[in-house]
């Protein structure tokens, strides 16, 4: 008997806007001029937030910070595609996602400034907290999507992670569950080319990360992650699909981490100037600007105005974050259990006593 072909697959890559800002109008998602400007302004705001965060860290005013520079198109456009009823589960570099959904900027600075209160997500804000251990948030998003389905609620869940996460068991177990139970979840892999010092080609022998979805029985696709239109289109379609009960999607956004892994990292140890320059030409903000200029949506005065506005917002947020009183001692003990157990209460008293003695 000849061997028969029992499976075949292909992976596509979506590109709407090229590096020079030329747009494939047949593929362009329906976005009003106002929305396009809004996306641009959110990218400017996110980058301003990011640049200032790095400065604050250098000045010792916040702790270790993971910059998102270069990933604004992926983060802003994907977050913008979420409905009000949808939820997102971030990793730890998704500040632009929070910003797009109008999360209080000062809380982000509070969090990176070492204060858990910055992660007390407002009650009406549909997002989960930062997850530092790589990929561990994937099963949470899957369980959450499962609960939506269980309750018959029409919601989709968007979960963010990077290329490094695709090597972890949590990725496999999460995607496998999602496929088996056909859950309303969208897996958004930000392939920013580097997991600290490891390039994505050493992360896997797969040609793409998107094709990993095939093994879990659902659709995977690549998109140009530095193009807001591609990202918005792919994520919007995947979220709509999830909400209508047609199951999960894996979207690999091909992008680039222009900064260091964190402020504790020095990326010049492992990547070349040439590479950085090459990717700088594909900067997501420059690209949209080129398009907008051509479409008559941009001029220097506009850019100046929104840049000033972004800086004002960010500075106000920094002031607010820095004026917040240090958490009280009891804040250390209050939140681990629903009721503070006796032995923990005693530990709190022990600390209180030692602080009093010192006075």
């Amino acid at each position: 008997m000849p061997e028969e072909v029992v499976g075949k697959f292909e992976i596509t890559m979506l590109k709407v806007l090229d590096v020079d800002g030329n747009c494939d109008e047949t593929l362009k998602p329906r976005l009003s001029d106002e929305v396009i400007k809004k996306l641009f302004e959110l990218m400017i705001l996110s980058r301003t937030f990011d640049d200032i965060a790095v400065k604050l860290q250098r000045e010792g005013r916040i702790g270790t910070y993971a910059p998102g520079r270069g990933q604004e198109a992926t983060q802003v456009a994907s977050a913008y595609a979420l409905n009000d009823s949808d939820w997102f589960f971030p990793a730890f570099r998704e500040n632009a996602v929070y910003i797009t959904k109008n999360f209080p900027l000062e809380m982000l600075y509070e969090y990176w400034g070492g204060d858990e209160r910055g992660e007390k997500i407002p009650d009406d804000f549909n997002a989960f907290t930062v997850a530092i251990p790589v990929g561990t948030q994937i099963p949470h998003a899957v369980g959450f999507a499962w609960a939506c389905k269980f309750k018959g609620d029409k919601r989709a869940v968007l979960v963010y992670f990077g290329d490094g996460a695709t090597s972890r068991g949590d990725f496999h177990e999460g995607l496998n569950f999602a496929g088996v139970f056909k859950l309303p979840v969208v897996f958004l892999c930000q392939n920013n080319q580097w997991a600290i010092s490891l390039p994505d080609k050493r992360q896997t022998a797969s040609k793409t990360l998107a094709q990993k979805a095939i093994a879990y029985g659902f659709e995977g696709k690549q998109v140009d992650g530095n193009d807001v239109f591609s990202v918005y289109k792919a994520v919007k379609e995947a979220l709509d699909k999830a909400r209508s009960g047609d199951g999960p999607t894996l979207i690999e956004c091909v992008t680039y981490r222009m900064g260091n892994h964190t402020t504790s990292d020095d990326a010049s140890r492992y990547r070349t100037k040439e590479e950085i320059e090459e990717w700088a030409k594909r900067d997501p903000i420059d690209r949209l600007r080129k398009y907008m200029k051509r479409a008559g949506l941009w001029n220097e005065e506009y850019e100046k105005r929104i840049t000033v506005e972004a800086m004002e917002k960010v500075q106000k947020a920094v002031e607010k974050a820095e004026s917040v009183q240090k958490p009280e001692v009891k804040d250390l003990f209050e939140w681990t259990y629903s009721d503070v157990p006796q032995r923990l209460r005693e530990q709190q008293e022990e600390l209180n006593l030692s602080l009093k003695e010192r006075e």
Binding site: H140, W146, Y337
Partner: protein, 324 residues
């Protein structure tokens, strides 16, 4: 009243809670059609359907991680991890997330999930099927750990665990799943988390144990009747621990033996010894003695009877503190 074994009491509690609250669901490997490898979920699939009794892929991280997500949405997932030794691959989810989410989000989110784990040795099982992982869990802030030793406590503790707003690891002593049958009320009742139970009063020595070792402890106490008057405490709740019941008893007897299956070093016996030292040191008439598993991996079954604390070893421990 109905006469039930421990494993039947597990099922009884699950069934009643699932009837009471439509947000309670059961998930795990082979828990559906098969009713669980120990039959702890037998009949639930037929009664509640595949939406609420869910056979998952073989995937401990997926089970615990997804259960966290289910709980975040407000459901009450009860996950089964088939054997103690298979819980380890889900530790990242337990330690890095289940125990920290309330704290990390300053109370915005919490994780009301239960993870049921058949645990402990003495059943002639292959490797990785006989471990007692309680110390790893008790050491982890933010999660609660309980283990019953009777059918009555099994039902009452499991109901408490399901209703508790925090993640609870429910360790089931599989060795005695079917060893005891006793009257269990048909109606709803709870055994509160955090409360130990003095199951035998005595004045000479306090014997503290939990899970399958409680029976061994009781047998040792009975054998010494007339010679040494042993008080036996079934700890039941390993985290949070019932400090008062322990210290009151030690204040009375001044002599203590702890008994557990887990290896000795950093076992829960060490923590109990420390808390006794901190609180009732002046009542002590002898150093606290530990009768435990040894600091080796749990052996295959030809050696397991040497590994597990035997009645004789417990008696020796009691005699040692009594004659100090």
């Amino acid at each position: 009243m109905v006469q039930l074994t421990i494993v039947q009491a597990v099922k009884f509690a699950l069934e009643q809670e699932m009837e009471r609250d439509s947000d309670v669901l059961v998930l795990g490997e082979d828990v559906g059609i098969n009713g669980g490898v120990f039959r702890a979920t037998e009949g639930l699939f037929e009664k509640f359907g595949d939406n609420r009794v869910v056979d998952t892929p073989l995937s401990e991280t997926g089970i615990v991680g997804a259960a966290i997500g289910l709980a975040l949405y407000g459901l009450r997932p009860v996950a089964e991890i088939q054997f103690d030794g298979f819980l380890y691959s889900a530790f990242d989810q337990l330690i890095s997330h289940a125990g920290r989410i309330r704290n990390r989000s300053r109370g915005r989110f919490h994780v009301p999930l239960v993870i049921r784990v058949p645990y402990g040795g003495g059943i002639r099982a292959p490797e990785h099927h006989s471990d007692s992982p309680e110390s790893y869990l008790v050491h982890t802030p933010g999660i609660k750990v309980v283990t019953p030793s009777t059918p009555y406590d099994t039902k009452g503790l499991l109901i408490s665990a399901i209703r508790d707003p925090d993640p609870v690891i429910f360790l089931e002593p599989k060795r005695i799943y079917r060893a005891i049958r006793e009257d269990v009320p048909e109606e709803d009742y709870v055994v509160p988390l955090g409360e130990a139970k003095t199951i035998r009063a005595g004045n000479d020595v306090t014997l503290i144990s939990w899970g399958a070792m409680v029976r061994q402890a009781m047998a040792a106490a009975e054998k010494l009747k007339g010679k040494i008057d042993v008080e036996v405490i079934d700890l039941r709740s390993l985290s949070p621990i019932d400090v008062e019941t322990v210290t009151k008893s030690v204040a009375k007897t001044g002599r203590v033996v702890t008994v557990h299956e887990a290896p000795r070093t950093c076992g829960l016996g060490a923590e109990i010894t420390a808390l006794i030292n901190e609180r009732v040191f002046l009542s002590l008439k002898a150093p606290v003695e530990r009768v435990t598993g040894f600091d080796v991996p749990f052996p295959l079954y030809k050696l397991e009877d040497y590994y597990l604390p035997s009645i004789n070893r417990i008696i020796k421990g009691i005699e040692k503190v009594a004659s100090f």
